[in-house]
Symmetry: C2
């Protein structure tokens, strides 16, 4: 019986001190976002989390696993937000436009990474980092490609004349613009020499709505 108790305890996911694991993941998220994977040491993470170095390894495993966990932790909630928005839009019966579909993908992300609290801002920078580095291709494929595929499918249905390559290219341009807003919106100020906090999200949607219609609206290039 005592043995059974122990076995149950071992199987139980954790006690209240997976709060510790969350602290470690939070710290890792902040630092990975700021300095990249190689620029961040496990020691820095431990210091920021207020724990010992060994504890980071205990909860996170090898550094690469820790990185993967940080990315995937918020990936599911984010996907849910996007897919729920898309479902709501579709069940509304009207207003199913290209722009509205793009908004379902972009806004859950930008609302949090531009306006919300620090964790999501860091996460946004982190995703930009992951998307730009072929080294994390697998992680990106795991966490983001399925949802992206749903949106590309939806857009393809809305623009039946466009090839899948056209839709995908336009989609990649949109994603790159979205990530540029969270990771390097300072560049806009640098070029514009202006500090207006404008409706960047709306500007992005304007830009991409027109871009999609230009790339995907017209003639078929092949055959």
């Amino acid at each position: 019986m005592a043995k059974a108790e122990v076995a149950i305890r071992r199987r139980a996911p954790s006690k209240k001190s997976l709060e510790t694991k969350a602290r470690i993941l939070d710290a890792a998220e902040t630092l990975f976002a700021r300095r990249g994977f190689d620029g961040t040491s496990v020691r820095d993470i431990a210091k920021l989390a207020g724990v010992q170095v060994a504890l980071v390894h205990h909860h996170g495993g090898p550094k690469e696993d820790l990185f993967h966990q940080v990315i995937s932790r918020r990936a599911k909630p984010l996907s849910d937000l996007r897919l729920t928005a898309l479902e709501s839009l579709k069940s509304a019966g009207e207003g199913l436009t290209v722009r509205a579909v793009l908004a379902c993908f972009v806004e859950p992300f930008l609302d949090r990474t531009l306006k919300d609290e620090a964790p999501w801002r860091a996460y946004g920078r982190l995703i930009a980092l992951v998307s730009a580095d072929e080294r994390w291709r697998e992680i990106a494929a795991d966490c983001f490609d399925p949802t992206a595929a749903v949106f590309v499918d939806e857009l393809s249905e809305l623009m039946p004349e466009a090839t899948r390559l056209q839709v995908s290219s336009a989609f990649v341009f949109m994603v790159s613009g979205m990530l540029a807003l969270t990771a390097s919106s300072w560049r806009i100020g640098a070029v514009a020499q202006s500090d207006d906090a404008a409706d960047l999200s709306g500007t992005l949607l304007d830009f991409c709505e027109a871009g999609f219609s230009s790339v995907c609206g017209g003639a078929n290039p092949s055959a």
Copy 2:
């Protein structure tokens, strides 16, 4: 006299073994592009260049200086290509459209980073890396902002109703799309599940021409 000779020799830029320095910069360019600044060690660079570690320090100085040199080495030639293209376009007297101006900025870059030899491909990835990381803000400002400003000015003249913030935002979206093509064009294939080597450069221009016209063509949002 002997002293004068020595002084002259010291002042001379170098002999034929700044070929060595070039080899070091080439190796650094390749590795920085592949693994980032922190992911690349001076030892890796020395090994790839076929020289000793100390020689890398001798020619490149501290690691950060070496990185800066790698970026700035091709920045001037690239700027010249862009500005020359723009001048040619303007002196042609006709065809001075938004799309043509954008092409002057995008094509010199994409022609080399997509089609040309390995060095330029690596350099393209490297610029994507620098642009995404606020840590290299100064380098980016030194090497690329002046030319970008020229193009934003030109675009503003072509679209007088647009605010500078609108033009800058659209410009940042275009740059992000351009960099996405060199650094993560594999993502297009990943989403499209297709391997067509399409005219990505032309697609980008289609997308951005429409985007600019949408964002910069219309009404003034403020006041």
